[in-house]
Amino acid sequence: MAKSKNPSYASINGRAVLYAVLIIVAAYYLLPLILMIMTSFRSMDEIRMGQLIEWPKSFSLDAWSMAWSEVQIGAREDRGLRPYFINSILMVIPSVAISTTLGALNGYVLSFWKFRGSELFFGALLIGCFLPFQAILLPQSQLLGWLGLSGSLPGLILTHVVYGVSFTTLFFRNYYVNLPHELVKAAKLDGAGFWVIFFRIILPLSAPILVVTVIWQFTQIWNDFLFGVVFSDPSSQPVTVGLNNMVNSSTGEKQYNVDMAGAIIAALPTIVVYVVAGKYFVRGLTAGSVKG
């Protein structure tokens, strides 16, 4: 109080600097997106005649419908990104659901039903978090071959589930070790068994970490390109591969507006997930400090 005659003034200055920095950084990250959106609304003629970076003189959604359902990608009959987009959805939903469920169960067992060697088991599982995608390509394709799942959606789902379980287990286990263990003891004395405790006590307390895991897994699996391109055939390729094939097509004119619209379409679901559940994401990451 004694230091400054007007302490509120100093804090306003500090705020101003803070916001200025935040706005600059936000703009830096937003500019590419804005550019993409603007370009996607321009017509090819306009782009050809003018600059690549320019305000749209006209507004049309043609590029979007082109990218979605009209552009010829590869030699397939179904046009546009739509079939790829549907593949991605068919892949991502079961992958996220199964890997999250397994992670929650693993975390529950490793926190509350420890067995001889459970710490070792957890350690071994963690190694999975450090394995690069590239390292498992060959053995995984061999395995998928043996299982008869090569080039199919179930094969892709299996790959994503196995790869994701390490992460989901880590998330849930680290969240559960911070829950009071007396809760489980009390439930045991109340007569509850393994599943009743999981579904009635532990799962209802897991909302924050559930959101974190779902967002994490959804983003990872939706954005994955490597597994998608290696373990799929044209009928099961996800949208990342579709986008790549569309943009890298070496025949005909480069349609910047369609490429931009396609890229946004491919990124849209992850954006939606973040916007809808983003605040829970931050909350969930810090949820370890919350008391029971």
């Binding site: 007396e182 003891k185 009390a186 439930a187 004395l189 109340d190 509850a192 209802p204």
Partner: protein, 369 residues
């Protein structure tokens, strides 16, 4: 309600031995307190009774059944935890009803039981609240309510009051005692607080190092401790331990103490100890602060009371009494005097040493003589 018999229970985690042969017989309706410093195995023993931990060897018999190898849910035991362990996602009503639901009690009976418990513990207005909306004392009540609802054979309490503030703890202590008197249930209660142990228990088991040092009524444990550990652990301020030499005194024995350069003989009550083998040797005299008081004329002439002048080193007024720290045999000795009689620091003051309740310990083994 049932009696509980713990028979020679051992519990080890690998090479670490937590319980080393615990045997306790608890009769029906008794309030038993397990007390001891942290790490003495009292909570482990409680978990073993509950079945949350397996015993390594030994038996736990509840009523007529040996429950040693039964799962917690089959033992018909309820437990109140230190952290209360209320289910955060359920309201108070659901918390109390959970155990009944699991045991497939009909809905109407559950509602009846919840109402009964809520009335008993006066938590009716809280029934629809979540645990996070309750104060510490209210959570404590709900935790007790959850235990009471099932009407189990035996109740276990694991330091249930230690998360409450001092005032509330004293209130809840009284309430718990009233509750036990009304319900007449068998209770095993763990605490590290010796005052809680003294005030609540029918019998106290003082534990240290995985061994029950003494199992007796509060007064027995207080007046007649089995060894120096029990003597020092029970009572606040704790018992004075003065090393002193044994001498012959008339037909009996006495211990010698020295204060301000003068040697005094404190005659030993033969009912308290037989020191015939210790003449000329050193023993540990255990004397509680309240046995060293200011001079009260009607006591001066009693047989085992000796007047000794001491120098006051520190005074600690507690309101009801003033504690005086004196130096005897070059060791610190705490004495409890009336506030108005207490002298100032540095003064010399006459004190009465009442040996009729004094106890003696072997210097090496710390066992009672």
């Amino acid at each position: 309600m049932a009696e509980l018999k713990i028979d020679n229970v051992y519990k080890s985690f690998g090479e670490e031995h937590i319980l080393k042969g615990i045997s306790l017989d608890v009769t029906d309706g008794e309030f038993i307190i397990l007390v001891g410093p942290s790490g003495c195995g009292k909570s482990t023993l409680l978990n073993c009774i509950a079945g949350l931990e397996d015993v390594t060897t030994g038996d736990i018999i509840l009523g007529d059944t040996n429950v040693t190898y039964e799962a917690p849910k089959d033992r018909d035991i309820a437990m109140v935890f230190q952290s209360y362990a209320l289910y955060p996602n359920m309201n108070v009503r659901k918390n109390i009803a959970f155990g009944l639901e699991i045991r497939k009690m009909p809905k109407a009976e559950i509602a009846e039981e919840v109402a009964r418990v809520a009335k008993l513990l006066q938590i009716e207005p809280l029934l629809d609240r979540k645990p996070s909306q309750l104060s510490g004392g209210q959570r404590q009540r709900v935790a007790m309510g959850r235990a009471l609802a099932r009407r189990p054979k035996i109740y276990l309490f694991d330091e249930p009051l230690s998360n409450l503030d001092a005032k509330l703890r004293v209130e809840m202590r009284t309430e718990m005692k009233k509750l036990h008197q009304r319900l007449g249930t068998t209770i095993v209660y763990v605490t590290h607080d010796q005052i809680e142990a003294m005030t609540l228990a029918d019998r106290i088991a003082v534990m240290k190092g995985g061994i029950v040092q003494q199992f007796g009524t509060p007064q027995e444990v207080y007046d007649d401790p089995a060894n120096m550990f029990v003597a020092g652990f029970m009572g606040s301020p704790s018992m004075n331990f003065l090393r002193c030499e044994v001498t012959r005194h008339e037909n009996d024995y006495a211990v010698q103490i020295e204060s301000q350069g003068t040697v005094f003989q404190l005659p030993v009550d033969p009912k308290q100890a037989d020191l015939s083998n210790y003449v000329g040797k050193t023993v540990v005299l255990g004397i509680r602060p309240e046995q060293i008081t200011h001079v009260m004329p009607h006591l001066v002439s009693e047989q085992f009371i000796t007047q000794v002048p001491v120098k006051i080193e520190v005074t600690e007024p507690t309101g009801a009494d003033t504690l005086i720290l004196a130096r005897i045999n070059d060791q610190e000795c705490e004495c409890r005097v009336h506030p108005q009689e207490a002298g100032k620091v540095g003064d010399t003051m006459d004190l009465l040493f009442n040996m009729s309740k004094a106890v003696f310990f072997d210097e090496q083994t710390e066992a009672r003589l």
